[in-house]
Symmetry: D2
Subunit: 341 residues, 4 copies
């Protein structure tokens, strides 16, 4: 860490700061400039020390040098992570498409959509049984009944499924039915839930919070990793900004930034970012071209009856066209589409 | 609701939309303009209908007219809500100061800070036993031991206490020890937690999420109110913006906006908004002058040892000066300071 | 326009509003609901009428239906615009790469970079003579001397050049030397400058303002178009958000949104958005995949001596690799690279 | 400055960086840690050096220590600035109210509003002759005719006037008619305009840009100050955020932040921030309570005919009530209302 002292600090202050740094198990290196004195605190940098150091009288600012996350960082794990879930491959070298309806409404619908997206090239089926809704008066999902449906369809179609968990009390149940567990954007900093899924033996798909800087997103991944679950997949789904033509602003730069600092696979959810189906193909192509390991797309066979998020779900036919384009793009990026079971 | 059709819609489309509106139990009023046809859907406006209507082919946009929340709205409850918690008064006519350390570290510390803030005029003591922390490696609070301490200090000093709950599994326990239950900003859309505290018999202090438009914040209050808990207190604590001199941007306009549309009391937390103690007095005064019903301020008797959020905690002496200023301001606003037990 | 009246409006209010609407040359259509009365104002919708209507007592909200821009809209000009500037093609069917140093430092440097980028496939050379700088103490560009250099290099290399104009007094001079005139992000709402370039006979490259919703960006294009200049090129270069790993947040969705509502070509400037050269290739590929008509990239042959914005300029070798990738991507998008003169 | 090298830098890199630092006239102080080497560059810190240092191979990050502005900083000018303009006082110890219509429409209207606001306690009259408008089709102000009107009214009522200048070609003309020159938010980084008003002999009222961090706002003040004009007044008028109940988000914390780092007076414009007149009183009181030196408020005697920004203008009667409240608040803040001529 670097400690910047206030202008014109007296020697007694400098000595006191240096003494405190030694107490904390670090070694101070003092650089006295014309206007400012700067002290480097050399040793193992622990994030919480920043707070202690900032409180020393005479200290103006403390600048951490190391990243606050470890297990999520590429320093710790230099190679890209790759996970296999049944026949589906996620990570380095693959482009993986997850698709399906926002919420599960009934078995026939999910079966029909599942067949369509699998035959178009999707290798993971999505479908929500527990739905976080802004309004207490909106449809909240089928719950356990939805989990049973998703499991049956997964079994019948031989495709792994991803579904969301919202409550630490329901993690065990969801783990039993799902192949990948999703943590929604609004729960990205629901730390008790993160710890609970950190103890699960299924991969976790962690959506970025609407107001989360990339560092905080990786810190949330660190919660899961440090609880023992090594398989985390990150998903950019748009952040909250002033821009008002879409529901959220998809931060496309998040993909190469994550690739640089972390070994974790990173996906994009263009459907929730845009909130309008007409933009989904362009955002999907942009995501893959920027280096994303995959996308999660909402597809519904009859969107005008969808019980939630209808206007952003693609129709199966246009989705099949889009997977054709993804395939061509993956090829020129030197990647393969994930095998479909 | 108002339904705007796409340009040059044919009569068959107009008829189909009108038919669908009737199916949904509403009455269509058609206005045909030179470029566009607009249909008013008259009847009880239910928020989820927007989604259905948007999905009808030929519809460009659906504009809801009614507010999506009911119990939280001033239409439903025209007078300002006032709650009494022991001797402490919260709401119309009062300015209420909640103060105390961020996290509870031990009984002596809390007792000392508690005495100081009570004698300065605070009528609620704050202190966290469960702490949401960005890093899994930071101090997470004393847990149940912290709850016991806060209860003892509350009893000894005769001051009601507020503490945070983060997990639906812990609501019953926290309710037993606390007088007011706090929902943190990162849990504002943790809907299962909201429903759980909605069943509790203690007032809920609901902080605004970092990325929450005011409407979504009120929808979260609606979750609690609709589950049966009538005593919700809102707290503005800063939103995430590009501005980089403070941790968050305190949206001062939120106060008069809430006052206009809702009957619920609204507080401000200047400490977490700023993240720096030097700005707390100015933000506190601004909050009261804008019409806030109270403030929640971090005070610590020895901030340089604080185990979390040290740099933003005020010292007891400057806090006492600030409550003096609050008192003078409350007076010219025609309000009283809440009685202290 | 749609006029929503306040709840429980009396008949006299409704009549007064209807009368006012007729005075303004529009026809009122009244829909009386249980809670609200809604009035459609049918006729030619002029943006400034919104303000008048909002001021009528009893009116709660006025919702415009038409877009506030005309000449920039696809309704006015359904086909994509294509411009030819020498051999260079900009618009539908082409991918056009503009490249060069941020600021012109001297003729040799510009000649060397110009040769490198042209041979790599760039068909427009960029270079700034007037530089907007945050600090009054930073290098502000070579001015008229820079314009002479850019003209000479353009002539010698047979490549059109783009350069920025910042002052309405300098438009005539810049027009004389440049093939395309650039308006920087911070001048997007410098209306007098927009009107001045609107009178020029050279295409205008209009960067999006850091805080500009897409509608306001198109309104700025409308200023130029309505002053008589039909050749406007839009350029997304990142908006100001809370995200802190890049200088600005590139809004990739802006590209398909513009394509839907406007006929104007849209480019992306990944260099200024990111502020770091390592992210430029990924953002460039994302831009093309999302449907952008081209990119503007900073290239410098010796970035460590660059007098401004050094850390974001690419080296000629990596730029050449990138144009190779752009070419392959353009092909699968069914587009051609613009011819190079 | 502090230069952080990449992890595991070899000694040759360290030596090269140190050599380069010496070439730039600074002295390097090297601190070698376990993971990183950090070099302090001691000497006069010039902002543009950051760019040079970042370009040295092996350098990861450069952290400036000094503020990038000088003349605007409290280090340079420790006491608060106070300006007198006729009888009107602006700065330390005073609360100054500027009020008037958004745009000047005709002499009678301005005279009437001017009398009303002066008698209510405003000591500066505002009124725009040149209006920046988002749409090229909106009313753009009366221009020179408006300037003549504002001068006549100022003379008749004996009240100084403030009006906006948008074009460097019009600065001389505006200076002749106005007592204070306003730079609008959208021109905060119109550097040529800043330099032109920097040469003027009238105080400049510099509104904050919608996307401007506080540092950039102060850098724009520095442009004016460094061109020789010592009388700059800053004005917070709201920034662009996701929050959607007001036109902009008034950043109330900007006031104490400016007070800490700068000697310049700081005002608030609640009318443009909110875009709705109902919020103006609460925002005004908050501004004064936070320490603002004054406010600028839109007042119109017949808002429903206002040719621009009508819905945010207050009526003279409610404005007079508000100035009564301001007066009481100023008193408990230990300040006086500025004398009215």
């Amino acid at each position: 860490m670097i400690i910047i002292l206030k202008a014109q600090s007296e020697q007694t202050i400098i000595d006191a700061v240096a003494a405190r740094i030694r107490e904390l198990g670090l070694t101070p290196h003092i650089s006295q400039g014309e206007y400012r004195t700067i002290i480097g605190a050399i040793g193992e940098e622990q994030p919480h020390l920043v707070e202690y150091l900032e409180e020393i009288p005479g200290v103006e600012r403390v600048i951490p040098i190391m990243k606050p996350y470890k297990l999520a960082s590429r320093d710790f794990h230099p190679d890209d992570s790759v996970y296999s879930i049944g026949d589906t491959m996620i990570g380095e070298g693959y482009v993986t498409v997850m698709a399906g309806p926002c919420a599960i409404e009934n078995e026939e619908m999910l079966m029909e959509v599942g067949k369509a997206v699998k035959s178009a090239g999707a290798s993971v089926l999505r479908g929500g049984a527990f739905k976080p809704r802004t309004s207490p008066y909106s449809f909240q999902g089928l719950g356990i009944e939805g989990l049973r449906i998703v499991r049956q369809v997964s079994h019948a179609l031989k495709i792994p499924v991803i579904t969301e968990v919202m409550d630490p009390r329901e993690v065990d149940m969801v783990v039993e039915f799902a192949d990948i567990i999703q943590i929604g954007a609004r729960n990205m900093q629901n730390y008790n839930l993160l710890q609970e899924v950190g103890r699960a033996r299924k991969p976790v798909f962690l959506k970025r919070g609407l107001a989360a800087p990339i560092k905080e997103w990786l810190m949330s991944a660190e919660y899961i990793l440090s609880a023992g679950n090594e398989r985390v997949i990150l998903c950019e789904r748009g952040i909250r900004t002033f821009s008002d033509e879409t529901r959220f602003t998809l931060e496309i730069a998040a993909i190469p930034i994550i690739k640089e600092v972390s070994h974790l696979p990173v996906f994009v959810d263009p459907s929730h970012a845009a909130g309008r189906r007409d933009l989904v193909p362009a955002l999907t192509m942009a995501a893959i071209a920027a280096g994303a390991d995959g996308v999660m797309i909402e597809v519904h066979n009859c969107p005008d009856k969808a019980r939630c998020d209808g206007p952003q779900a693609m129709f199966p036919e246009t989705f099949a066209e889009l997977t054709g384009s993804i395939r061509r793009l993956a090829e020129i990026m030197g990647k393969k589409m994930s095998p479909v079971g």
